[in-house]
Structure formats: structure tokens, C-alpha cells
Symmetry: C2
Subunit: 338 residues, 2 copies
DNA sequence: TTGAAAGCGCTAACAT
DNA sequence: ATGTTAGCGCTTTCAA
């Protein structure tokens, strides 16, 4: 099953190498021969075997992404899949395939080692959720083309790409300052939540830039859940003077925050403004619609893809970068009605 | 770069075929030789080239999934990625790789044809969102191992797998009947929404089974949005007598429904019960927590994987099946408090 | 501009 | 139990 290059060569009355050259668009082939061979190719319904081609060329034309794909990941972490979709799109445009490979922190390194040793892939994309010191060491030692999706929570020489959450925080703060809010509060995740920490850092900086200050009594930390958002907001609303705007580190907290504000009978945005990050999953259905700093995670995936393609060509490239793909979406929750 | 089988053979003082047999666990090799060769393999740090192996064996050990991966798909359709994750897990357990390939209805067929012709993959998984007549014809004609994820909306001989939404509807209705509700209503999607239609069909059947009847005035159709769920509920609550339970075809409608019920000042579940399907994305955060018939889409992905592995071995297998992986999760919204 | 031939690294009949 | 050898289907020097 499957016509081979030999049969094409014979039928066209040329050598296999000539056919190969036609397939690969080699310059040395006369237009005449080229046409004739292509003719035969079409007649015989010939398609070169992908694996034979790759094998002969010593390339796989594929990238493997290692990520935690455990139960409910698609629901709990859709961002990751959006990144992957962006990655896939970019790779596909250059004729590379993207393979998904589920892993855990404890297994990822072994898998990566296997893929590298067996030359199963041209490059590796590794979601930060399965990143370990060991794996970082492997990547650095082998100089294998790779990119870590997200900033590893330890120092190393691996290549990574991440969203600039500090910048997003600045954007959020600048917006509120511009709208005339004075007493801005921040409800964030726990200490280990680096995304939240960076957003907080950005908010603080953005406020300072506008001549404002983020007061300690307006900063609360908790779990990234509806319940904790509510709890933190209640605490926040027991402070004097009341804040006139709240930035929530994420959607879950925002939802709880809005609920608590409503329960207290306060009006958004006239008595207190609310905004958050990410246009997902709740910001669009909350009443009133929330202003958000939206994060283009898909764009980050595309960038990652471009870097990988680059590193496949130039294995010594090193990249460690924050991409800033935030986008302010102003909605009712922060725009005072006169 | 990369130790080859030849070098191992030489170093071990055996032939390459012996090494190959050791690698593949061929029975005919003496334990002694086997140990010695393995020893050398370890010493030389030899790993067989995956592409050479696959090429020689004429297999790719990979499955490609074709799906719509357009912007925001991960947010708007996380179910699809959960299916894919289930698929990947099952394939990986059998040492198959899963490649993601973004497509559109207009391009999927061409891509599939290319993959098949160039023998790029051992099997194809095709999400129903990119399914077309043309593609179906291709799959049937070539007998290429495949499975469609979801029921195609036209007749054909392709293999497919889908959730049994009728069954889910029955489960939902049976639960309400058992809890003693009498006047059950159904808020569903538009006509073209087959999932909603199947759930409705199941609800109707489940009620009949319990000696109840789904009245026409209690059936409403609209968009699967928060707003339309609210709108439909308002209409519903203008009927006499009022229903005592509502089944919403999905989470979006359910959220709107609960909001409208609250706005009307009615108590859930004592005045009216509410339940829906899928434990995502809102059912867990709505107050009160909603009873749902949860759908194990990941399980469906695993099943799809098993079928594919089967079809790779036996290309003539045909499968068209509904998997019933629903799971009733009873929560406050349907259990009356005395 | 074309062709002959030597790989690419491994598998699998077949022979021993 | 082990080795010989002919592929697998294509690419790529090198020579013509």
C-alpha cells in the first residue's frame, strides 16, 4: 500500500534522486522534467511518506509539549490550553506538528530525557506546572531546544516565557487613577501565588506613578475562591475610610467581592469600583460587567512557538522574556455614572 | 550525535540484529547475551532512534486529533480539551503519541487526506466541530482508523462516540420525580442545539416513566446565555400554576434562571427546585449549590482512545456508540428542607 | 541538468 | 541462539 518514489521515477523515466529534487523544489531541475514528474506524481497519486522523509532528513518536524493534563485541567486551567492552541497554530503555519504529552512534576524529567535521547522531537515546550530543578538541569546541560511556558519558581538558565503581570497591574492602577479613584484596594491570592504577587507589585507601582499610595489596610490576601473573595471583601469594608475602588487579583475573588459589596447594599461603581484580570470565566456575566485587564495567553503561545522555531535553527539562542500582551477592557464597573 | 545500534553491536561483540532483538525483547536471545548487550547499551548511553524504529516498522505510533482550535476555544469549549486529555492519557499508556491539529470545517478534509496519504499517523480523531460530508466520505472510503468525537449532524458510516444525553435527561427527571416534584419545567437551547434536544427528550421520557408529564407551557427555548436563561425564566414564572422544578439544559441558562428566580423573591428549592447538566462552569458557585447531572467527558476521551487502539489493530472494526458516563450530583437546589 | 550510489538507523526474514 | 542481509522510502553527496 502506498506508491513509492521508485515507482514514480520509473514511470517518469527519471531517477529517484530527480524525483526527490522535484519534491523538494531543488533549483537544478529543468522546468520540463519538473512538469513531467509532477504530472506522473499526480497520475499515480503519489504522496511522499512523511516518516521516511523525516527519517532521511534527521528531523521530526514536531514539537512536544509536556504539561499536567490531569482530570479537570481543561476546566480548572483553560489558560493552559489556550496557550497550547496558540503554540499549535504558529507551529502548524511552519509545518510542524504539536504533540500533547501529559506529565507530572515527578515524571516530566524522565519523559523529557527519553524524548531527547530518542530524538523523538525537535523541541520541547514545558508547562511550568511540571517544571523541576532536575528538568531544568537537563535542558541546560543538553542545550536541547526548549521553552518553559510560565516563569519557573526557581532560578535557572532555562528559556522561559511568561505574561508580564507586573505590567498588567500597572495598567489596572493607571486606569483607576485616571478615572479619579483615590483609595484603591487590592484583594489577592496567598504568598505563593506569584501571579497575584506580580499584579500587586504592578498595582502598587502604577498607583505611585499617579501620585497615589496603596495602603496596607487595603491589601488582603486569601484563597482564589468565591468564598474567600467574599470574606476578604467583608473585612475590607470594615475599614475606615472605605476604599473607593477594588482590584481583585483574579475572577474568583472578583465574583466573591461583587457579591459581598451587593450584600452590603453598595452600588458599583458609584460607591465603589471593581476591576480584575482576565476576561474569564466570570467577568462577563457578573453584574455590572467588570472592567478587566485581559491577558492574551494565546498570543503568548504563539510567541513561544516562534521562539522554538528559532531555537530549532539556532540551538544556542537563549530566551528569557516577559511578553506584555495585556489589554484593558473598560466596562461599567469602573466608570462612574454622573 | 547519537550512538547507533551498530556501535552497540560492535562494542558488545554481537550483530546488530541481536541488539535489535534485545531491544525488542525477542524470545530467542539467551539471558547471557541479553545482559551483556544491555550492559553495553547502558555504558554507551544508547537510545534507539524513535523515528528510525517507527520508519522501519512502518508505524508512526501516533494519533492526530483534528479540532477547531480557534481563539478562545479553551474558554468557550473546555469540554473538548478534557476529551482530548482523556484521549491522550489512554494513548500514552499504550505508548502512542497524540498530536493536536487545529482545523476548520473547510480545511479539515484536506488535512486529513494529507495525513492519510503521507502516512503521518496511525489513526485520526476528529472533533465533530470540523466534521463534513466530504470528510466522512473520505474516512469511509479509505477505511482509515478514525473516530469522530461527538455525533455528526448527518448520517454516515463513520465511527463516532458521544455522550448519551438522552440518558442524562432521564436521570435528571428521575431524580426530581423521586424527590416528589410534580410540575417540572425545561429551559433549553434552540432547535439546532442537539445536546439540549437530547436532554429534553430524556427528561420527557424520564417524567413519563415516573407517571408525570412535561407540559408544553413549561418548555422554553432560547440561547444558551445568562441573559436568555433569565428571560426564559421570567416567562416561565408567568404561567399558572407555577412549576415546582426547573431543569436547565446547561450552566449558562441555569445561572440566568437562578438569578430570575431570586429577583422574583422565590426560595430554592422549597418554592422551586433547579437543576442542570455539567458541573461546569457555574454550578458550583451558584447559591444555592446546584444539583447537576455531571458528564464525564474525560471518560469519553479515554473510550475514544481505546477504540482507536483497537481499530489500529483491526481496521475493519466499526463503532458507533453512545457512552453513558453521567453521574448525578445531588446538592441543595433540589432537596427540600422540611 | 541528471543519475548512481551511499547512507539514515533500525527491523525481520532467512540461514546457520 | 545468533548472524547475514535485504529492505523501509527518502535524501544527498558526488560524478557524469
Amino acid at each position: 500500500m502506498g506508491v513509492t518514489i521508485k515507482e514514480v521515477a520509473k514511470a517518469a523515466g527519471v531517477s529517484v534522486s530527480t524525483v526527490s529534487k522535484v519534491i523538494n523544489g531543488h533549483y537544478s531541475i529543468s522546468e520540463e522534467t519538473c512538469d513531467r514528474v509532477n504530472q506522473v506524481i499526480r497520475e499515480l497519486n503519489y504522496y511522499p511518506s512523511a516518516s521516511a522523509q523525516n527519517f532521511a532528513k534527521g528531523a521530526t518536524r514536531s514539537v512536544i509539549v509536556l504539561a499536567d493534563l490531569g482530570p479537570n485541567t481543561a476546566f480548572s486551567n483553560p489558560h493552559m490550553f489556550e496557550i497550547i492552541a496558540g503554540l499549535e497554530e504558529t507551529l502548524r503555519a511552519r509545518n510542524y506538528r504539536l504533540s500533547l504529552c501529559g506529565a507530572e512534576p515527578s515524571t516530566a524529567c524522565e519523559m523529557a530525557e527519553d524524548f531527547i535521547s530518542r530524538r523523538s522531537t525537535d523541541a520541547l515546550a514545558i508547562h511550568v506546572s511540571v517544571m523541576t530543578h532536575q528538568l531544568a538541569a537537563l535542558l541546560v546541560r543538553t542545550h536541547f531546544p526548549h521553552i518553559v511556558l510560565g516563569l519557573p519558581n526557581f532560578d535557572s538558565q532555562v528559556c522561559w516565557i511568561d505574561i508580564n503581570n507586573v505590567y498588567s497591574g500597572i495598567v489596572a492602577a493607571a486606569h483607576l487613577a485616571e478615572e479619579g479613584y483615590q483609595r484603591v484596594a487590592f484583594l489577592g491570592g496567598r504568598d505563593h501565588d506569584r501571579i497575584s504577587a506580580h499584579r500587586l507589585e504592578g498595582v502598587r507601582q502604577g498607583l505611585e506613578d499617579a501620585g497615589l499610595h496603596l495602603e496596607d489596610q487595603y491589601i488582603w490576601q486569601g484563597d482564589s475562591t468565591y468564598m474567600d473573595g467574599q470574606r476578604m471583601t467583608r473585612k475590607l469594608l470594615s475599614r475606615e475610610p472605605l476604599p473607593d475602588a477594588v482590584i481583585c487579583a483574579n475572577n474568583y475573588i472578583a465574583l466573591g467581592c461583587v457579591t459581598a459589596i451587593r450584600e452590603r447594599g453598595m452600588k458599583i461603581p458609584n460607591e465603589i469600583a471593581v476591576m480584575t484580570f482576565d476576561d474569564y470565566p466570570f467577568s462577563q456575566i457578573i453584574e455590572p460587567p467588570l472592567t478587566v485587564v485581559d491577558i492574551d495567553v494565546r498570543g503568548m503561545g504563539s510567541q513561544a512557538g516562534k521562539f522554538l522555531l528559532d531555537m530549532i535553527r539556532h540551538p544556542n539562542t537563549q530566551i528569557q522574556t516577559y511578553v506584555t500582551t495585556s489589554n484593558l477592557m473598560v466596562r461599567e464597573s469602573t466608570v462612574r455614572i454622573q
